[in-house]
């Protein structure tokens, strides 16, 4: 009985392992659909964008939380914003305006400073990364 | 973008090198103890540890002036029996004749004056008298 069960197990395994070849005895295209250079570039650009926007968001959060003072914030925000803007422009150049829009941020608005304090300009609200498309529109394999 | 910084590499290697030397020195000169079997004792003396199996009979009391007296021989293979006198806390409850132990102390004139006994945990699984 054990031997029979063992043989059944082996047979099931062989069947499942052979399944891709049984389903497509002759495949029109047997190449692995690995990302091409264009896919890689797109992904890199999206990574750059998400990384820059996440860093910007964290910088804004840290500033609002008082972890970064105004002087340090002024020094850091410029390069960070330029990085984010460059990432967004790179995406826009390549893929058009659909990548340019973004949601409003989820942080509360910066409180207006009293007029007699030499406060920095109110920062632009931090954009969330490009809103994800509906899952239904993501191409399935 | 520049990714190479030889200065950083040199500093890191230097720190690693100093650390390695320090570790080696500490390990060699500092806190290591020879751990020998009875047959390896040879002309050793001083602070060391002996790994062996307890041979009896074990006599005496570790709390008394005369101490707990027993012997140690090689776990594997034959060897002389090294007499041990242990003084200190009661030995671990698993200490018994036939148990593998590591005994630490001072070895001189063919005898170990021990101050620490560590017993290996017994096999997790042992026969019951009713069965095997």
């Amino acid at each position: 009985m054990s031997i029979v069960l063992g043989l059944v197990l082996a047979a099931i395994a062989v069947l499942l392992v052979a399944l891709p070849f049984l389903r497509e005895p002759v495949a029109a295209d047997d190449r692995l659909a690995v990302p091409d250079a264009e896919e890689d570039r797109r992904r890199e650009l999206l990574e750059d964008r998400d990384r820059a926007l996440a860093a910007l968001k964290e910088l804004e959060l840290d500033h609002r939380a008082g972890k970064i003072d105004d002087a340090d914030y002024r020094e850091l925000i410029g390069p960070q914003r330029r990085e984010a803007a460059a990432a967004l422009r790179a995406l826009q150049r390549r893929y058009g305006s659909e990548m340019a829009a973004f949601e409003t941020p989820d942080l509360p608005p910066e409180p207006t400073p009293p007029p007699d304090e030499g406060s920095p300009p109110t920062p632009v609200p931090v954009p969330e990364p490009y809103p994800p498309p509906d899952e239904a529109t993501i191409p399935q394999e | 973008m520049s990714t190479r910084s030889p200065a950083r590499l040199v500093v890191a290697l230097a720190v690693a090198g100093v650390l390695a030397v320090f570790l080696l020195y500490t390990a060699v000169a500092g806190h290591s103890t020879p751990t020998l079997t009875p047959s390896q004792l040879g002309t050793h003396s001083g602070k060391l540890a002996i790994v062996g199996v307890v041979v009896g009979p074990s006599r005496g009391d570790s709390h008394s002036a005369r101490g707990l007296r027993f012997g140690l021989r090689n776990i594997v293979g034959s060897s002389k029996v090294v007499p041990v006198v242990y003084r200190g806390d009661s030995p671990p409850p698993l200490f018994t004749v036939g148990r593998n132990v590591v005994v630490s102390g001072s070895y001189a004139n063919g005898r170990l004056a021990a101050n620490s006994i560590v017993t290996k945990c017994p096999s997790k699984y042992t026969a019951t008298t009713s069965g095997a």
Partner: protein, 650 residues
């Protein structure tokens, strides 16, 4: 049924070899159907291993002593949980558990990532299959759990002193941790083999790494608690090689978890991360080798078998493979940015990594030292506790400090002025704490005082982070739910602080005394007075219990007893300690009556007072909470990742 188990393992071996060969061929030649076939083989390998596991588990529960393994590890009196715990209690069963968890984890990781990371998973499959092939081979050819014999009337039961819940929980926790580190390793190797060394492999395995690390950490704490309450020597960690075998991969994984954040944020430390993930994996296999080979002396007893040399060969081959892979792909592992300032969060993460790896290598050196001296000097020398304690302070105390500074310091570049301003309150709190501690007498131990002071600094920074963040965002729940990794990490840091306080308190500020007592006599320590009331011997099923009963006065009034149990079947003794935990006084009163003479009523007793030791166990709970927060799935983040990784629309 044993035949079915053997057959299932042979099928597993065949499938893993196929997955290795076919998977590698498919990846190299870019063949889709073959890659799918190899992936199916990995899934089926899990299936057949599961069949083998069910066969063994069923035999254990049924006490089928025709299985040699079952007869060697259970007897008829063993209850089901302990009979099942024999699965991992013995050599062969624990190897089967390794293979089961490996193929299970591997199948799940590959299944979850097969669409979005198809270019990586095609390489991950043969790497996982390679590891699986080794374990399957050992199970089939060297250490099979399905050997059979003429069934005896009864088998070897689990030593009564080991029949406690820890035996059921501690080993599987550790295995889930050890084996879990194979997943990030396989994905890292897959990234290098495929030439796609971007951050996707890190993102894909982030939760796997965190889960494995959490299991390994919590498993170690379970073991420490087991030692504390059951073994009865008054301590919880002996720097034993088997204990260190779990600590080393955990330290490497801790360093890895931190440095991957830098790679994700800044594209830096790519080579370092590859080295770390390989180190964590190799150390987990090396730990398995250590516990089975008997090459180093350990109080933990495991069956010795020729398996040690097989494991050593596997460790050597996989290490050479990892190093060769890293060297080959060095050009692809160049950093995208550089470290801009020594005063930045990136830099503090780097310092933290160096300290963690230094501590890991220190422990590794201590473990290997007896082998090294035997090989080079012909004489085994062992390294004692003082070595480990010294380096724990040298590396651990700065690490503690960095835990407080790191989260507050800005990315890229922080100004010294800004940092001092930010740290002003935590520094003030820690100074006040330090002064208060000195005033109450904690200055008796400098390392202890430093540990407490640094701990108060870190706790103050964590509280400050929470308060500031909550003010900025509106609610603490929103703050944590929108920043799960970060705040989960802070909770874990808080756990480490509790651990540090508990260790410092119980070791640096503990007191102990020894005494020889007869009934009516007493001993005092740290405000407690213990009077020996009586010596008792009681017969219970399968054991004779000998106890010295103490009346305790002073800071607590009550009764404590301690002594030993002498079991009948098998004839083994076990020490039974008396522990009184007081949360109000934040300490344990720990009594070890290590020589109780029933005839003369003379008792040799050791009494210890261990301040704050229970914070170590509380730290375990907090640790799990922090890991849970960090692991908490984030639907928005998941959608972002899908967008990034999904193939572009035409």
């Amino acid at each position: 049924m044993a035949d079915l188990g053997r057959a299932a393992l042979v099928v597993s071996l065949g499938l893993s070899v196929y997955a290795l060969v076919a998977g590698a061929t498919a990846a190299i030649t870019n063949r889709r159907r073959l890659a799918t076939s190899a992936r199916n083989a990995l899934f089926c390998c899990f299936g057949s291993t599961l069949v083998a596991a069910v066969v063994l588990a069923s035999a254990l529960v049924r006490h089928d002593f025709s299985f040699t393994y079952v007869a060697q590890h259970t007897n008829r009196t063993l209850t089901t949980p302990y009979a099942l715990s024999a699965f991992w209690g013995g050599q062969e069963g624990s190897l089967l558990l390794w293979l089961l968890v490996l193929t299970g984890y591997g199948s799940l990781a590959v299944a979850l990532n097969r669409k979005l990371l198809r270019d990586l998973t095609v390489w991950v499959v043969p790497v996982l299959a390679g590891i699986g092939t080794f374990f399957a081979f050992v199970l089939v050819a060297v250490a099979s759990p399905f050997g059979t014999q003429t069934a005896p009337l009864d088998g070897n039961g689990l030593t009564p002193s080991l029949q406690n819940p820890y035996m059921v929980a501690h080993p599987p926790m550790l295995y889930l941790g050890y084996v879990g580190l194979s997943i990030p390793f396989a994905f890292a190797a897959g990234a290098m083999l495929s030439g796609r060394t971007d951050e996707r492999w890190i993102v894909a395995t982030r939760r796997w790494t965190l889960a494995a690390w959490a299991f390994l950490g919590f498993g170690q704490l379970l073991g420490a608690h087991w030692a504390y309450v059951e073994v009865g020597w008054g301590g919880y960690y002996a720097w034993d090689p088997v204990e260190n075998a779990a600590l080393m991969p955990w330290l490497a994984a801790t360093a890895f978890l931190h440095s991957v954040m830098i790679q994700e944020r800044k594209g830096m430390l790519k080579v370092w991360n590859m080295v770390l993930v390989a180190l964590a994996f190799e150390l987990s296999v090396f730990g398995t080798f250590l516990t089975r080979s008997g090459v180093v002396n350990s109080i933990h007893s495991f069956s010795k078998s020729p398996i040690g040399s097989w494991f050593l060969a596997f460790v050597v081959i996989s290490t050479v493979f990892s190093l060769a892979l890293i060297m080959w792909r060095l050009p692809l592992l160049k950093a995208r940015t550089k470290l801009e300032s020594a005063l930045s969060r990136e830099a503090t993460f780097l310092y933290n990594n160096l300290l963690l790896v230094a501590l890991c290598l220190t422990v590794l050196w201590g473990v290997l030292f007896p082998i090294v001296t035997q090989v080079f000097k012909g004489e085994t020398r062992t390294i004692g506790r003082p070595y480990y304690d010294f380096f724990l302070r040298v590396f651990g105390l700065p690490l503690l400090l960095l835990m407080g500074i790191g989260p507050l310091i800005a990315w890229r570049k922080a100004s010294f002025r800004g940092l001092v301003k930010l740290l002003a309150w935590p520094i003030a709190v820690s100074i006040l704490c330090g002064v208060a501690l000195v005033l109450v007498g904690a200055g008796s131990s400098k390392p202890g005082l430093i540990a407490y002071t640094f701990s108060s600094f870190v706790l103050a920074t964590i509280v400050l982070e929470l308060v500031r963040g909550t003010r900025a965002v509106g609610s603490v729940f929103t703050l944590i739910s929108r920043n799960r990794r970060r705040y989960g990490g802070y909770v874990v840091h808080a756990a480490i602080v509790l651990l540090a306080i508990g260790i410092a308190g119980s070791s640096a500020y503990g007191t102990s005394t020894r005494a020889r007592l007869t009934p009516g006599q007493s001993v005092s320590v740290a405000g407690y007075t213990l009077s020996l009331r009586d010596v008792r011997r009681t017969q219970v099923p399968n054991a004779t219990e000998t106890r010295a009963v103490f009346d305790v006065g002073g800071r607590w009034h009550g009764t404590l007893s301690s002594g030993d149990n002498q079991y009948i079947f098998p004839p083994e003794p076990s020490r039974e300690v008396g522990i009184k935990t007081s949360w109000a006084r934040a300490e344990d009163l720990y009594v070890i009556a290590d020589d109780v003479n029933v005839k003369t009523h003379v008792v040799f007793v050791q009494v210890l007072v261990k301040p704050l030791v229970n914070l170590i166990w509380v730290a375990g709970i907090v640790f799990l909470l922090g890991a849970g927060i960090a692991l908490w799935p984030d639907a928005r983040e998941q959608r972002r990742l899908v967008t990034r990784l999904a193939p572009a629309r035409v």
